[in-house]
């Protein structure tokens, strides 16, 4: 298969179109801008819609409108913009609409910076908006994985009728790597049982809605949605386990940070340290069984993140706090180096 060098942001856009995405609504923000630019250049040629919205808020609501009619819709932004979209994301989740949202994270809080960060982990996995709900959250670690995960995100969003997010960061968005686009078999499910695209006088009207004024009725919709989440937790977790079988220390990392950690792990192995890596590919659902397996023989666990430590909570919960979980991270846009991670591994007694 032919490989090309592509920026992560552009690869996300190309993959989305190949996955049958028919419309993109966005607003400029660094470091995801190339994604929107690529869409602007190519979406119309592919028979789709590109529109630069007046705000992130408008963009996510345009996605809500398009998704309501059964069309595959996407928006992308970076951290501050995702906060603005959170209102619409909550409505989309509450209306059981599928869509894909890209977050090419940068440092925060506030206006923060524009360099890579993973400090939106909690936002993406715990509370992207008000109310009880989840998004599917995928964490790619390479440009090729960005391609593969966008396709999967669209398919799973449709399958479960819920929003899906690609949680990337400025490093992945900006970097170029070889990438190939496999022939994508677009699984376009039949949405005619719910889509609000005009009833043609052939059926009762469809209503896309998240308002339930009777508490018992609202509770039922939420409980039903959580029953669906249970199925997802059971079926859709995904993770990479790297050299964990005999590892005394397991280093957990996702996304771009996992690349740094892998370099550190390889270096540590060369020095005879028994260390491995656990990398969740889905952040929600969090791969609990996989992290338990990865850490089965470890005495210590380390979480490395581009934040002050957010995923570490999920690791501790998954391990029932049965093992010590330490943290190393850089934040504000600083990318940890393999040397720093190696030093931390050694400090944890990784010479035994």
């Amino acid at each position: 298969m032919e490989k090309n060098l592509m920026k992560g942001n552009e690869a996300l856009a190309e993959a989305a179109m190949r996955a049958g995405c028919k419309c993109f609504f966005g607003y400029p923000i660094t470091p995801q801008t190339e994604l929107a630019a690529y869409m602007a250049k190519n979406m119309q040629k592919n028979g789709g819609v590109f529109l630069q919205a007046e705000s992130e808020i408008a963009a996510i609501n345009m996605v809500l409108g398009a998704a309501s009619t059964g069309v595959r819709a996407m928006t992308s932004s970076s951290s501050p913009g995702i906060s603005l979209k959170s209102e619409g994301i909550s409505y989309i989740a509450g209306s059981d609409l599928p869509c894909v949202i890209i977050n090419v994270e940068r440092g925060g809080p506030g206006l923060g910076g524009i360099q890579p960060s993973q400090a939106d982990y909690w936002q993406a996995t715990k509370g992207l908006g008000h109310g009880d709900f989840h998004l599917l959250v995928f964490a790619p670690a390479s440009v090729q994985e960005m391609v593969d995960m966008v396709v999967k995100a669209f398919n799973k969003a449709d399958e479960y009728r819920m929003p899906a997010m690609i949680l990337a960061d400025g490093l992945l968005g900006q970097m170029m790597e070889p990438v190939s686009f496999p022939e994508i078999a677009v699984e376009m499910p039949d949405k005619s049982s719910w889509a609000a695209d005009g009833h043609k006088n052939k059926r009762a009207h469809h209503i896309i809605n998240s308002l339930y004024l009777t508490p018992e009725e609202l509770e039922k919709t939420v409980v039903d949605r959580y029953a669906k989440y249970d199925i997802i937790k059971d079926k859709e977790t995904d993770a990479e386990l790297y050299l964990t079988d005999d590892a005394d220390i397991v280093v957990c990392a996702f996304g771009a940070t996992a690349r740094v950690v892998k370099s550190a792990v390889n270096e540590a192995r060369e020095q005879g340290i028994k260390v491995g890596m656990f990398r969740p590919k889905t952040l929600w659902p969090f791969p609990e069984k996989e992290v338990q397996k990865a850490c089965a023989n470890a005495s210590k666990v380390l979480s490395v993140e581009m934040s002050m430590g957010q995923m570490i909570d999920d690791i501790k919960l998954a391990l029932s706090c049965a093992k010590p979980v330490e943290f190393f991270g850089r934040t504000g846009g600083v990318i940890p180096t393999p040397a720093e991670v190696l030093e931390k591994i050694k400090a944890m007694g990784g010479n035994n």
């Binding site: 809500l64 819709a73 005009g198 009207h205 896309i208 809605n209």
Partner: protein, 251 residues
């Protein structure tokens, strides 16, 4: 026996939740009559706001979408851009359209989105119990302007039709009222024109409807209609503020 009056088909056969004397029912009916007359129910998607008409999705028989507060024009944009052959309308109140949703309203208009916006202006937030709206008239008493709206404190009202008429993308900006039979007829004609504009791909059509809120105004339905005539119409003059089809006709 000849039927002289019946429920429009585009309205569901359910009781409306609106207060006695509220004019939402009239405006719903006018929209539904136009949809019936144009035979477009099967190809229409309506967008509800947040506010008193939040549950309008239960009242219109076409497909309906409930939007976040103020975002109906953005939702409508998403629907229309991906389904250009469908008729798309929003139904919004003054707080929704002219306060929290001002950006969405102005930008949908300036882009010339080929949609219909029905704008209910009753100078008050009804659903939340009678707070100041962006259209509340100076001196008007509301829950959050208990001494009357003081422009020095609360600023001035927004005249939406006039404002949107300045935008190139706006095809129609017309203010009507539903306080009397002649005005109701005029209102229906305006709504009809707005939907025809969409059919003819003319762009953004806004019909601002001066309406009453007897409950939150603290007036009887009849007194409320009087207030509409005596206080609102002088502040918000009825008329066509922009109509590109008339301009085209004059050329």
């Amino acid at each position: 026996m000849a039927v002289v009056f019946e429920r429009p088909k585009a309205l569901c056969d359910v009781p409306l939740h609106y207060c006695p004397g509220c004019t939402h029912g009239i405006v719903h009916r006018l929209v539904a009559e136009v949809i019936d007359e144009m035979g477009i129910e099967g190809d229409t998607v309506g967008i509800c706001p947040v506010g008193c008409s939040v549950m309008a999705y239960n009242y219109f028989n076409c497909d309906m979408i409930e939007a976040p507060h103020g975002r109906a024009p953005a939702v409508a944009t998403g629907v229309k851009r991906t389904n250009p052959d469908k008729f798309v309308f929003t139904y919004q109140g003054d707080g929704d359209l002219a306060a929290i949703g001002t950006a969405e309203t102005v930008h949908a208009a300036t882009r010339g989105e080929n949609i219909v916006v029905i704008f209910i202006n009753n100078t008050i937030y009804g659903m939340t119990g009678g707070q100041m709206a962006p259209t509340t008239i100076p001196g008007q008493v509301t829950q959050t302007t208990p001494y009357g709206r003081d422009p020095q404190l609360a600023g001035y009202p927004v005249r939406v039709s006039e404002m949107l008429a300045t935008l190139t993308g706006t095809a129609l900006a017309q203010r009507v009222a539903v306080d009397s039979v002649p005005h109701i007829r005029e209102a229906k004609n305006a709504i009809r024109k707005a939907f025809e504009n969409q059919r003819d791909k003319k762009g953004f059509s806004l019909v601002e409807v001066l309406s009453t809120c007897p409950t939150n105004w603290g007036l009887t339905p009849l007194k409320a209609l009087e207030r509409l005539r005596e206080e609102m119409i002088p502040y918000y003059p009825l008329g066509v503020y922009k109509d590109i089809t008339a301009e085209e006709g004059n050329k």
